[in-house]
């Protein structure tokens, strides 16, 4: 197997004295979908924030495409082709849908392709084209999530981290968004999916990692992981 696109080794992250991620180690091979599952408070989101540069780790190393990006600020990480769709979408609510998407082309390398990228996002989510002049704050939760995904794709990433994109959405919308993620992955992009919904995550991800209390406790090919094994890791039984 070739060198993984992302390597996380012994990463620790804290909020003040509270240790959110104690020791996380995982590999993300290029070109596939990798799921990270775990209960609420297992440290999944903090780990994603730490990889993307939103949060500073207190120990460990993060390597992306062979380069050490540990502690690098988010605005520099994204330039290297790693994009995060943050939990709760975090759209720019006082900006139009199109302005939100165009913000994704802020990195200089992405600006030249802004028209093509925009078209691709509109193809992926036609509803956004209809609503392109609406303020993103006026959209439904699912549509905001689409804006957040589209915005991340506009940065021209090679790896996208999706942090609990199904949170609070209706099942039909979740299904639709997941179909789009598979489509994106089929075009060669590497995807990391963070989920609380274990079944969907394992079905979608080729490789799964289970987190418990700030640690990665189980990793393997999703097809080879037993249901009982996952349940044990998930609940720490």
């Amino acid at each position: 197997m070739s060198e993984p696109i992302l390597k996380v080794e012994g990463v620790q992250a804290k909020y003040g004295d509270f240790v959110a991620v104690e020791e996380a180690t995982l590999d993300v091979p290029q070109g596939i979908i990798v799921s990270v599952i775990g209960a609420n408070g297992a440290g999944k989101s903090t780990l994603m924030d730490t990889i993307a540069g939103v949060h500073k780790p207190t120990a460990g190393t993060i390597t992306f495409k062979g380069e050490d990006i540990t502690g690098m600020p988010a605005e520099k990480v994204v330039l290297r082709g790693l994009s995060l769709v943050p939990q709760g979408s975090r759209c720019f609510i006082r900006m139009t849908v199109e302005d939100n998407l165009v913000m994704g082309s802020y990195p200089k390398a992405a600006r030249a392709k802004v028209k093509d990228s925009l078209e691709r996002v509109y193809e992926l989510f036609p509803v956004l084209k209809e609503k392109r002049n609406d303020l993103s704050g006026s959209l439904s939760g699912g549509q905001r999530q689409m804006v957040a995904i589209g915005r991340a794709l506009m940065t021209n990433p090679e790896l996208v981290l999706f942090d609990e994109i199904s949170l609070g959405l209706a099942p039909t919308i979740i299904k639709d968004i997941y179909a789009r993620i598979k489509q994106i992955s089929g075009e060669g992009m590497t995807v990391v999916l963070v989920e609380q919904d274990t079944k969907r995550a394992i079905k979608t991800g080729e490789i799964s990692h289970v987190m418990l209390k700030g640690k990665v406790v189980l990793s393997g090919r999703s097809a080879e992981l037993g249901e009982e094994e996952i349940k044990k890791a998930y609940f720490g039984l």
């Binding site: 939103v54 988010a74 605005e75 943050p86 006082r94 302005d99 913000m103 994704g104 704050g137």
Partner: protein, 277 residues
């Protein structure tokens, strides 16, 4: 009708006084108490340059605007960004200190004498169907409107402008798009000071000013920002017009009084401002 015209002419410059402050409020979440001094700095800059070089005062903007922009960037990056890590109150105190330092420095440099930027058309006026319009006020009105329009277009149409708006909505999400929040704050302060330079020119052309006049204009800027909704540029423009009209209706004796009554009523009825979301 005469009152309406005078109010609108006055209102536009009020909007210009407030627009830089509104940006800092809305984007950087900073209450900049030195904004009045920045305006007076701009006024002195234009006074000195126009009399030393013997040029049209409006041309001095070619120098004062970029210089003030750079000063703003440096001020924000070197001083205020650092203080803001400790919270909003220390940053507020720093701008208060800055305002005192700048005021005293100008007093030292330029003495307490009254100043004015002289223009040849200072007393000229147009007569349109019985309404008399001062040419000077019309020029100041045009400068104010153009500045606000250019600023609006910049914020809407450019990558930097969008980055500034995005940062004001969500700093984390903006950084995920490759935006350096600190640099954006620097640019925002630069722009705020550049608008202060233009406002200073207008103030100097329309009114007599002193090194200590900053407070007076800070108050007006404050009023405009509060009425308009913090960070909203169209709001600032409308608020400026409301403030200006209220003052003209009140006349020389009650003008400011009525303006501040309007401000109080606004605070009671719609504290988030006219255009705030």
């Amino acid at each position: 009708m005469q009152i309406l015209i005078n109010g609108i002419l006055l209102g536009a410059i009020y909007a210009l006084l407030g627009v830089g402050m509104s940006m800092m409020f809305g984007i950087v979440k900073l209450t900049n108490l030195a904004h009045g001094e920045f305006i007076i700095m701009g006024a002195f800059g234009s006074t000195i340059l126009s009399s030393a070089l013997g040029i049209n005062p409006i041309l001095t903007l070619v120098v004062t605007v970029p210089v003030m922009f750079l000063l703003g960037m440096v001020l924000q990056s070197v001083l205020i960004n650092r203080v803001m890590l400790r919270g909003a109150e220390p940053a507020l105190l720093v701008t208060f200190g800055l305002s005192i330092i700048l005021k005293d420095a100008m007093l030292l440099l330029f003495t307490a004498d009254a100043q004015k930027i002289g223009v040849s058309y200072a007393t000229a006026s147009l007569n349109l169907g019985g309404i008399s319009i001062s040419v000077l006020n019309l020029v100041v009105f045009a400068i104010s409107l153009i500045t606000i329009l250019v600023l609006t277009l910049f914020l809407r149409k450019t990558y930097m402008g969008r980055a500034i708006r995005a940062t004001s909505d969500d700093t984390v999400a903006a950084s995920l798009m490759g935006v350096s929040v600190k640099k954006t704050y620097g640019v925002a302060m630069g722009i705020a000071m550049a608008t202060a330079a233009i406002a200073g020119l207008c103030v100097g052309m329309r009114w007599t000013f002193y090194p200590s006049s900053g407070g007076e204009y800070l108050l007006i800027a404050f009023g405009v920002v509060v009425i308009g909704g913090m960070g909203s540029i169209p709001g600032t423009l409308v608020a400026g017009l409301v403030f200006g009209l209220a003052q003209v209706i009140g006349g020389a004796n009650y003008g400011m009084f009525i303006s501040y009554i309007v401000l109080l009523v606004m605070l009671a009825v719609r504290p988030q401002g006219l255009f705030s979301k």
